[in-house]
């Protein structure tokens, strides 16, 4: 018993000392000693200059294309940095297909206020089970775009018509992630969650085909994973496919009931209801004419394929 008593005494003294210290007002001291300051910056390249002039100055958006492991959320994944020759073509697409329509429709103040401020590029996709992750949004500030090395648009060396799928996926990823940022600022109405109530698949979305998802009133299999992704996938599909494209999508719902018993008419009604809710959300939450934005986005997209 006595031993323990001595111990307690010792701790008490130490504790007291700590309390005293923590009360002391601290001086910032010599900031020169803070580790990591005063490092020489890497030499600027023509790519760095292009990004500064075209994205950072007008829109306050930085593009990190040089490797920095800790910009990537899951550090256990194997990734590689982008090929330098892909950085400007990709950034140009970002500007034309995503930034320009939004700025034109909603104004530069809206865009610069809500747009993510940092793009982090990975050359490869992030592999997860049997699928590839193509984009990630973090806290409304950062968008990670994967698979840049396979990105191709019309006019680039080696572009073939089937690459339009890659372009579409790339732009859809941007629209998808920006959609997340919008609803993280102003939540979409709860009605949206009710449209497909009981049909969400969680991680099982991986096992769904496009047709199966559509038959339940989801624009893509991934939309069936959770509410938020349903919402932003609907935005992304509406913006990349355009009004006519969306109608074609709605018309392509398979005959007969889905595996979950959703009838064709019901699935089509769900898709139209989601469209209406998205349009309404953009109007009431942001004062943006969605159909006009859609027309601009689609027009830019068509030029790239």
């Amino acid at each position: 018993m006595k031993k323990r008593f001595i111990f307690f005494n010792c701790f008490a003294v130490l504790g007291f000392a700590l309390v005293l210290q923590s009360c002391k007002e601290e001086d910032l001291g010599d900031v020169e000693t803070i580790s990591g300051l005063n490092r020489p910056a890497p030499v600027q390249t023509s790519i760095d200059k292009w990004i500064a002039d075209s994205l950072t100055t007008p829109y306050n958006i930085a593009v990190n294309y040089k490797w920095d492991q800790f910009e990537f959320t899951d550090i256990s994944k194997t990734l590689v940095p982008p090929k330098e020759e892909m950085v400007i073509p990709f950034s140009q697409v970002v500007r034309r297909a995503w930034i320009a329509p939004y700025v034109e429709q909603a104004g530069i103040v809206f865009f610069n206020k809500y747009s993510p401020k940092l793009f982090v590029l990975s050359g490869s996709a992030q592999y997860q089970y049997q699928s590839k992750v193509l984009g990630q949004a973090e806290g409304g500030r950062k968008i990670i775009v994967f698979d840049i090395n396979n990105f191709k648009v019309k006019g680039m060396n080696g572009y073939v018509p089937s690459d339009s799928v890659v372009v579409k996926e790339g732009i859809r990823t941007l629209q998808h992630e920006f959609g997340h940022i919008l609803h993280q600022n102003i939540m979409y109405p709860v009605e949206f969650k009710r449209v497909s109530e009981g049909l969400f698949q969680g991680v099982n979305w991986l096992n769904l085909s496009d047709a199966e998802a559509l038959a339940d009133g989801f624009v893509t299999p991934y939309a069936s994973s959770k509410y938020d992704d349903d919402f932003v996938e609907t935005i992304a599909i509406l913006l990349t496919e355009g009004k006519d494209g969306y109608t074609r999508l709605v018309n392509s719902v398979q005959e007969g009931a889905s595996l979950n018993g959703t009838s064709k008419a019901d699935a089509q009604a769900k898709l139209r209801r989601k469209e209406a809710l998205v349009v309404n959300y953009f109007k009431t939450a942001w004062g943006v004419d969605f159909y006009s934005l859609q027309a601009k986005c689609r027009a830019e997209f068509v030029k790239l394929i």
Binding site: Q21, G36, V43, W67
Partner: protein, 430 residues
């Protein structure tokens, strides 16, 4: 017991006092200044190598790849690599950064030849999707590597080893003149139309077996009547094929094979081994027959209740999948399944193609010869695939049979004993 604590008490008190005192560093400079100085020193080393650096990297999936690096003071690096025939001759510029992470680190921060190994896209490097060849492009400097002409670096993610050695002027010129590509001629040994290959160096005949994917070379020879064998990994340098483990046999020591030549019309490879200029010649028979191999080959999978697979089928005269079996609809792989079933008291093996649903091809009964061959006789057939049940079946039941050559614990090559111009590679991937 009580005494013990009276010893500890003053210590505790002492610690308490120290923590109250303003700290005096034992260093004259702040940690930040010291890190910056260290980074500057590494940077100076990298840039200061007038003729650049030779690099050897050891990815997690095995084998070695060689590189040439020339760093400048603008965060740019120029590379060659023995990864393939293009990277060997085309200089590629990319970005690098010397930066303090947990320790001073060298980061190749935009895509370069080095990233081909680490790329998680399996189609780039033949690795598993999501992993690639388990390599690195971000390295920490080893503590004791300054000023001895060699830098040993360790990958931060996969602990890949990268060894940089200062290149000579001669080597630097050789890289610029396509020296690596000349060395890569060695991989043309795959184009020989015959399986067994021999070289004679210093009066000794060696059988040479090269795995250009795993980058290993095996030399087998007879010492009197004793069979000897030596295997090493290799990489391509500006002057030839460099062995990781030197080959020593009596007075002969080989660190590398140099002056690679390739005669495309005769499909003939030549090189200098030590002082001897030699040519690789084909042979219809193994120099040393592994007599027990056929039985071992079958028993290996019998013990596992499993089978061998081949993704490419038969190679004939150097042409992979000569019979075109991979074009069978939904072709998955070819398989050899010993003791798959019995019919009227005869146990047979399946030697067939597989499309994930059906077996296609002959059911065979094996027999062994005393000189180490296996011969198959056809008992019946699976399915009605004409290609498998006629052309391929005829090849399988060739009366000369096959030698088996074990190339790794889970790989065997089955080589036609008729002329060694037909062979099939089996592996056990499960």
């Amino acid at each position: 017991m009580k005494k013990n604590f009276s010893i500890f008490l003053p210590f505790l008190l002492f610690i308490g006092i120290i923590s109250c005192k303003t700290e005096d560093s034992v260093f004259e400079q702040t940690s930040n200044e010291r890190i910056n100085a260290s980074l500057a020193e590494y940077q100076k080393q990298l840039v200061g190598a007038e003729y650049g650096w030779k690099g050897a990297i050891y990815p997690g999936t095995g084998s070695v790849y060689s590189f040439y690096f020339k760093f400048n003071d603008q965060n740019r690096v120029i590379m060659y690599s023995d990864f393939d025939k293009e990277t060997a001759v085309t200089a590629k510029e990319s970005s690098y950064l010397v930066k303090a992470l947990q320790s001073p680190s060298l980061i190749f921060d935009t895509y370069s030849y080095l990233h081909l190994l680490a790329d998680p896209e399996g189609s780039v490097n033949g690795g598993v999707y999501g992993e690639g060849l388990i390599s690195d492009f971000e390295f920490s400097f080893g503590a004791d590597t300054l000023n001895n002409g060699t830098l040993t670096l360790t990958g931060t993610k996969n602990k890949t080893r990268l060894v940089l050695t200062k290149a000579s002027q001669e080597e630097s010129v050789a890289y610029g003149n396509g020296g690596l590509a000349k060395s890569l001629l060695f991989s043309n040994i795959d184009l020989y139309p015959i399986y067994f290959k021999r070289v004679t160096i210093g009066g000794v005949t060696y059988e040479i077996n090269v795995n250009t994917t795993a980058r290993t070379v095996t030399l087998s020879w007879l010492e009197g009547t004793t069979a000897k064998s030596f295997t090493t990994e290799y990489y391509y340098s500006s002057t030839g094929v460099a062995f990781i483990t030197p080959f020593v046999n009596g007075g002969l020591t080989l660190n590398s094979l140099t002056n690679l030549t390739w005669d495309a019309s005769k499909l003939s490879l030549g090189f200098t081994a030590g002082t001897a200029n030699v040519t690789v010649v084909g042979a219809a028979k193994p120099l040393i027959v592994d007599v027990a191999a056929p039985k071992r080959f079958r028993q290996f999978v019998i013990d596992k209740g499993s089978y061998w697979i081949s993704e490419t089928g038969f190679t004939v005269s150097g042409k992979e999948d000569y019979f075109g079996i991979t074009k069978i609809p939904d072709f998955y792989y070819m398989l050899f399944f010993p003791d798959i079933a019995s019919s009227q008291g005869t146990t047979y093996d399946a030697f067939t193609a597989y499309d994930q649903t059906n077996l296609m091809g002959p059911a065979v009964v094996p027999s062994y010869t005393s000189d180490g061959r296996i011969i198959f006789s056809i008992l019946g057939t699976y399915g009605t695939n004409t290609l498998m049940n006629t052309t391929v079946a005829e090849q399988i039941e060739d009366a000369s049979g096959y030698y088996l050559v074990q190339t790794s614990p889970i790989r065997y090559d089955m080589v036609s004993a008729k002329d060694a111009k037909t062979w099939i590679s089996w592996w056990y991937p499960f």
